[in-house]
Symmetry: C2
Subunit: 344 residues, 2 copies
DNA sequence: TTGCTTCATGTAACCGGTTACATCAAGAGC
DNA sequence: GCTCTTGATGTAACCGGTTACATGAAGCAA
């Protein structure tokens, strides 16, 4: 037995569909007794409006699409949590779309969003902007999050990866490190590239030795980096990984190799995922409030959907959360505002 | 300029809407040249079908709703990852619905799913079944995951929490522990209640002393439990928390208090979230493959949507992953199959 | 040529809502 | 009594697709 439709309710209540619609949507131009009667009938029939039909006729789905490259790890889980909290507050639903790294499948999926969502929050650090724009439905409001740079202005949100990396290197230098190893993220990933750039700049400016090893943002590649260095008997006193998971991998490998952290080698990551404060030694990392970041993207998208003009590229500058995995700088060396300890 | 519709394409290509539909959906009863012509025109106009309209007329959305109580922590992130992987494989989209603990808002949201999704995976360990069934749209296929027990059979998936808790207690006992503290989860939560029940049963059977403290599944309540015990100068040699996050909180608190784990007090959790193997000492925990669990729910829901008959209550029995936070049992005491070390 | 089949194409109904506009009754003003 | 206004209610078009059925042309056999 299929679900009741608005016409079933209308027939059962001996009124027109228009009245039913009015009764259930709280229109004022309806007699209160009639409204109550219709509501009773609807409840009795167990009528639940068909959201799809409603969306079609209203040309509005109250749903926003979230495009992310991956769901692995705590970064996305935090981001999603922040977006969900905000969306729920605004009465919006979240349709998840994971690109799984495959650009072509991603394009298909992007198309599938048309008529399903009112707008998109797109986080695609691994795709080129041209590719992205070519397939973003033209009239679809969208907020770009950490996407590659591109022509023109668009509503956009970005982590200042360069500044974050610079701050980490400065923190390491202040703690006395001189020979830095950077475990980079995937080359195609814009976040990874900018963190590398910030690292290069800061090391050059501060006269630090820099060795760059290629990683892929997974824990294993952090472990592998240490193995490589070990095999070469390379000398280094700090490892800065382009994200926390790789830093964790490196940290574990160093511990297994019996190298003292931070006394022999300092370790730092990027992202401040929740587990960084739980491992031992707790990991120093560059932090933005990931959940807030996600929530902000949703707020701006909601504004866009409601027709607000918005062409801002908004930046979030990470701060360094100094924990046990790096040596603390001497008290008064606070050229840059570096936050100590934990936020919670 | 709004997006092109199928009628725009039809007009531009001088054919009927039916032909356009046929051309774009790969129907065979259309002349190849005409099909190609239509596809060219569609591409030129940048036509992207309106999924909402398509769904309405097909009475199928290719979307499944995921109802979860919360998005905090790695358990849900892993579950979601598994579900997404499977859904994407089956060509399904995921619409996220977080209940945020509020039962009434949850009900509204459940209703909002009608006409938006083809089916639901409902994970609602904190809601009573009556409440749930009363508001699950009658004709909506749904797979229940870790829900409270109820009358009748339904497609359902459950972690065998009792068996998992029993296995953990047996493992602790085998390692020589005699005075167990159990940090329980929220009383309204069915998982929490069953883990407590398993703990009670096993302790009674094995003649172990048991102290139960109330927790709420968050890290803090694990910490708080240790503080309580400390204040009372209580004697105990093992802490079994009803989930990993509380176990982590307890572990951290014990470390801060200078109590050796596992030598003075053993610690075990439940869920095997990814970070359990990264902290130090690595946490012993009861494990199911969370991602697989989620994927399985999606597979069964997809079957249900396609009309398959399915009334099975499927169980997943956790195994104990013995790590550094508990003492290992002597070699030949393997009454129950307990897995050593780490998977991966 | 006629009649029948086959196949490509078009027409229009339908999915289940919303809502502009038409209609109609009641009350007000004269 | 008549017109005008006001407000409740109904009718039907519309959102943008899909598809059952109608149509008509081509192919083929007799």
């Amino acid at each position: 037995m299929p679900n009741a439709t608005i016409r079933d309710v209308a027939r059962e209540a001996s009124v027109s569909v228009a009245s039913v619609s009015r009764a259930l949507n709280g229109a004022t131009n309806i007699r209160p007794e009639l409204r109550d009667h219709i509501r009773d009938v609807a409840k009795r029939l167990g009528y639940v409006p068909h959201a799809g039909a409603r969306n079609l006729s209203l040309a509005r789905s109250s749903t926003i699409g979230v495009v992310v490259p991956d769901l692995h790890g705590e970064f996305f889980s935090e981001l999603l949590r922040g977006m969900d909290r905000q969306a729920s507050e605004l009465g919006l639903h979240l349709l998840l779309m994971v690109m799984h790294g495959e650009a072509d499948r991603g394009v298909t999926a992007l198309h599938a969003m048309r008529g399903r969502v009112d707008g998109l929050v797109v986080m695609a650090p691994q795709i080129t902007s041209d590719e992205l724009f070519a397939h973003l439905p033209k009239s679809m409001p969208s907020v770009l999050v950490n996407c590659a740079p591109h022509e023109g202005v668009r509503p956009e949100l970005r982590v200042d990866n360069v500044a974050g990396a610079v701050a980490v290197i400065e923190h390491l230098a202040a703690g006395g490190c001189r020979r830095i190893v950077h475990v980079a993220g995937p080359e195609a990933n814009i976040d990874a590239r900018e963190r590398l750039r910030g690292t290069r700049e800061a090391c050059a400016r501060l006269g630090l030795e820099l060795r760059v090893l290629q990683g892929d943002f997974n824990e294993d590649s952090g472990t592998a980096a240490i193995a490589t260095l070990h095999a070469e008997r390379a000398a280094f006193d700090a490892v800065f990984a382009a994200n926390d998971m790789m830093a964790v991998g490196a940290l574990m490998a160093l511990k297994r190799a019996g190298i003292a952290v931070p006394d022999q080698v300092a370790v730092a990551g990027f992202d401040n995922i929740p587990l960084t404060r739980l491992i031992s030694p707790a990991l120093t990392t560059a932090s933005i409030d990931i959940a807030e970041f996600g929530a902000r993207a949703v707020v701006r998208l909601a504004g866009l959907i409601d027709g607000a003009a918005d062409d801002t590229l908004e930046w979030r500058a990470p701060i360094v959360i100094a924990r046990e995995s790096t040596r603390q700088p001497p008290k008064n060396t606070t050229e840059n505002p570096i936050r100590r300890g934990d936020r919670e």
